[in-house]
Amino acid sequence: MVEKKDMRRKLPVFFGLHAKLPRGLGIVLALLPFALLVIVYLTASDIRQKANPQDKLLPPVSKIAKALEKSAFTLDKRSGVILLWQDTASSLRRLGIGMMVSACLGFLMGLNMGLLPGIRGLSLSFVTFISNIPPLAILPILFISFGVGEVGKVMLIILGTFPLITRDIYLAAKRIPKENIVKALTLGASQFGVVYRVVFPQVIPRLIDTVRLSLGAAWLFLIASEAIASQDGLGYRIFLVRRYLSMDMIIVYVAWITFLAFLADLGLRKLVAVRYPWYSPRAEG
């Protein structure tokens, strides 16, 4: 027993391959960079404010709080709505519709490409080609052909994310062992059944994962298209207030977007872990 204890004590707490972080230290370490960021910001902001009380670049916390109050809790005099909520609703609607369409499209295409050689032959090179078009470069084309309304923005999100989702699902479907598919056939599955009753459910968690990773790109396309042509939306607002150098407002919006993105990521990750425990099996007790 004594020996064992000694052995354990030898494991480093922080350095090296074998480091074993105690729980408390883990939390502290995780929070440390955030704390540093806040401290650096506060100090820098303080210095600049002292030099010039009108400074707009690094507004003090009080100004940021006021901007938050103004955008999130007070009705805008001109439009009669609370701006932050209005913007959030518009942006999330675009993001949601775009991701939904591209997930469904990418999933069905990827699934069928992965399993059916005919579909693969027909579309693999085309999808690869499409996925190499930089989506932002064709934004003008989208705005010209779909208008500067909602459709153009949603189309950008779809075009920007669906090739990647398609290719990822295609690879996932192709990775299903041949044995698994033959087994399903010997269990009486039809060809349709193999695709939609055997492989389909196996690939769903992969789809959620892919969507989660594509969300970063989707936000980029959303904000870019809102910045260029829009009447509302989180991206629109940020680029609007930039004209007045309202750094406080920008900070509020960026923090809010980051929080939303973080929530979406966390939610999808938890969904996979809870709903699909077989997908990434951890060591269980």
């Binding site: 044995e179 698994n180 033959v182 056939l185 055997v198 196996q202 997908y279 269980e284």
Partner: protein, 293 residues
């Protein structure tokens, strides 16, 4: 031995090539209903290939394969399969894995209606492989031996005419392996099954089978021009074994058992010793040419 004896499985001049390489050459084989047919051979000789051809997973380059007189096509429920791995569906619980066949073989809506009966039947099969207590678990939570038992139950529920097994116990430790051997014999007798069992373990093959086939590329062909290393495997030996199976693995220690294994080693696994191709297929009662002592 007459031509019109109904064979369950019948292979005629089956040959399989991958590109230029001949893997299986001129395989003739007839398997009777109820046989426990084991297949052994040197590594890479084409045992799995032969099994895949019978399954319909791959097509023979030439020759024909019949099930009860009907040429086989793609994989179908009358031929069950248990692989060494990947037989189970990772996204389904053990119970769902076992009842999957009952569900996939009917339209989706019907399968929903019949879920209860399918579940009861699956439970029954799971209990027959002693896994009733694990019905709710996922495959990754089970040991290798348990997973193979699920795979067997999953195949059995379809009541296949023949059960094909490709080294099903190959990845198990010796103790589990022996328990599985006894279990499969028990199930084989209980269900009156026909089994086609590929293994690289000679002892296992002799212990389990009512008939053993030795597949090998080590034989002498009548046309000497053919390069001996590039020739396809054939069935170089075919012995009947005990039909009344012993319930104990003790038989493995007997001298007779050992002698037979030595003999088979000689027949198929020794590159130095090569039989003449003309002498093949003569040793078993189900062979094509009548064999007289």
């Amino acid at each position: 031995m007459t031509e019109n004896t109904p064979f369950l499985l019948y292979l005629e001049d089956v040959q399989k090539q991958y590109g230029e390489k001949i893997v299986l050459d001129d395989i003739d084989l007839a398997v009777k209903q109820g046989a426990f047919c084991t297949v052994v051979g040197p590594s890479g000789c084409g045992k799995s290939t032969l099994l895949r051809l019978i399954l319909g997973q791959e097509q023979a380059t030439s020759g024909r394969i019949f099930m009860e007189g009907v040429p086989i096509a793609l994989p179908s429920p009358d031929r069950g399969i248990v692989y060494q791995r990947y037989s189970l569906f990772p996204h389904l619980t053990i119970l769902d894995n076992t009842m999957l066949g009952k569900q996939l073989s009917v339209p989706f809506w019907t399968s929903l209606r019949r879920k209860k009966t399918a579940r009861d039947e699956a439970m029954h099969y799971l209990e027959s492989v002693h896994l009733g207590a694990h019905a709710k678990k996922y495959p990754h939570q089970l040991s290798g031996g348990m997973q193979q038992r699920v795979a067997i139950a999953q195949a059995l529920i379809m009541k296949p005419k023949i059960l094909l097994m490709d080294e099903p116990f190959g990845a198990l430790d010796p103790g589990t392996r022996e328990a599985m051997q006894l279990l499969i014999l028990e199930l084989w007798e209980a269900h009156g099954m026909t089994i086609f069992f590929v293994t690289h373990d000679l002892e296992e093959a002799v212990f389990l089978g009512t008939r053993i086939l030795v597949l090998s590329q080590y034989y002498r062909h009548e046309s000497a021009s053919r390069e001996s290393s590039g020739q396809g495997a054939r069935i170089v030996a075919d012995y009947p074994l005990n039909t009344r199976k012993a319930r104990s693995t003790r038989v493995k220690e007997t001298a007779k058992f050992g002698r037979l294994i030595q003999r088979i080693r000689y027949d198929g696994f020794d590159p130095e010793y090569r039989q003449d191709a003309r002498e093949f297929n003569l040793k078993h009662t189900d062979s094509f040419i009548t064999f007289t002592e």
